[in-house]
């Protein structure tokens, strides 16, 4: 995989982090064994999912609510209505926490699709049709190395975004904030967005591996 990394793209993960071979069972009373290596956001989200931990939820709120508010306003929802959307998104995070699977999605990616769904509900008559949900078998043990890999890819993607020039980053933000039509996104293929694309490709193989045994 390293050979595929763009040369201008040094690994930006913490060198001290080494994936554990296997984490504790998900039903264990805490995640202490793998917790030191996972991001705060993932730890909070898993505590919300597994222990219905309100302190962890409050921490998620402090981290995401101001970002969600900025995101929602930028997506064209009036500031007065933005907090209503933020509130709905945060409540959905709490209520649908059992659908969060850190092997497949980093917390911000999972929250992104919840936020887009809510915004679409607000702006359109029809909600967005969603794919069938995949479920892990109950009692599946968390695989810390897979969770860490998803996190590391998310970090590298974020870092790749910050290295784009202003115009390129603006195009990406517009596309994922819902400001571009499909045709406009399709027309952007000539733009030098190679770093983002190579990041997406790297993440793909891992996700495909993760998905192959899951069934709706």
């Amino acid at each position: 995989m390293t050979a595929l990394d763009p040369p201008d793209n040094p690994p930006d993960g913490d060198p001290g982090r080494r994936p554990a071979a296997r984490g504790p069972r998900r039903t264990a009373p805490d995640h202490a064994a793998c917790a030191p290596t996972l991001s705060r956001e993932t730890q909070w989200m898993m505590a919300v999912r597994d222990q219905r931990d309100r302190t962890a939820f409050a921490a998620l709120f402090d981290h995401f609510a101001p970002r969600l508010k900025g995101f929602v306003i930028r997506s064209g929802i009036p500031a007065a209505k933005a907090e209503e959307v933020v509130q709905d998104v945060m409540l959905t995070i709490w209520r649908k926490a059992d659908q969060f699977d850190p092997h497949r999605a980093q917390v911000s990616a999972w929250i992104y699709q919840i936020a887009r769904n809510r915004q679409i509900d607000v702006m359109r008559r029809d909600g967005r049709p969603m794919p069938e949900e995949l479920r892990e078998d109950p009692g599946t043990e968390p695989d810390a190395s897979q969770i860490l890999a998803v996190e590391q890819e998310a970090r590298q993607l974020k870092s790749a975004l910050t290295r784009l020039n202003a115009e390129q980053r603006d195009v990406i933000e517009k596309a994922y904030l819902g400001e571009l039509s499909h045709q406009q996104i399709s027309d952007q293929t000539g733009l030098p967005l190679g770093t983002i694309k190579s990041r997406i490709r790297l993440g793909l193989n891992r996700l495909r591996h993760e998905l192959k045994d899951l069934k709706p």
């Binding site: 309100r54 939820f57 409050a58 709120f61 402090d62 995401f64 609510a65 101001p66 970002r67 969600l68 508010k69 900025g70 995101f71 306003i73 930028r74 933005a82 907090e83 933020v86 509130q87 409540l91 709490w94 209520r95 497949r104 999605a105 917390v107 911000s108 990616a109 992104y112 699709q113 887009r116 915004q119 679409i120 029809d126 967005r128 049709p129 969603m130 794919p131 069938e132 890819e153 974020k158 975004l161 990406i172 596309a175 994922y176 904030l177 819902g178 571009l180 039509s181 499909h182 996104i185 293929t189 983002i196 997406i200 993440g203 793909l204 996700l207 998905l211 899951l214 069934k215 709706p216």
Partner: protein
Amino acid sequence: MSVTHHHIPDSMLAAYAAGTLPQAFAVVVATHVSMCSLCRAALGAHEAVGGAVLELQDQVAVSDGLKSNVLDLLDAPFAPTTAPARNGIYPGPVVEAMKGRAPRWKTLGMGVRQDILFGQKDGSLRLLYIPPGQAVPDHGHNGLELTLVLQGSFSDETGQFGVGDVEVADETLEHTPVADAGDPCICLAATDAPLRFRALAPRLLQPLFRI
């Protein structure tokens, strides 16, 4: 999970992730993703980009009371929503578009039938039923058309399409899809414009049948 060979274009997955696809196309994408782990993974990658955009968003302070409001609401009752499950050959998103009912087939002639699930100004979504060996009338496209196979298979000038496969056709493609031998071919078809048929009679019938 079936192995599909014809997938959703990447730009369309990005637009789906961002929520900017017309509804008819979004149903096809959600249906294909339900059947294809490759595209489910690709959609996950786009959501990861969206997550990074969210993380890097300028923060706007929320009002003082919002957090306590949300915390107070954690125990409030709510109606859980569950994504519709597959029913026979129809994946969950199609079941939802059919509003849980059985198909209401309308004959188009030559054994070809359709069921219009919805028609809106930004596009239409329908089910097509094509008997084995039967061609869908030769047609060009005013806009973009997605055809996803739910049962059987069809072939045209560009290749063969089996269960889960999606054909993407635009103005430049004039093709004649023919259902292969075996089970009748049932497809989910979405357009962002009315189809135009080359033969005179079907064109006259077009307003009547809305195809």
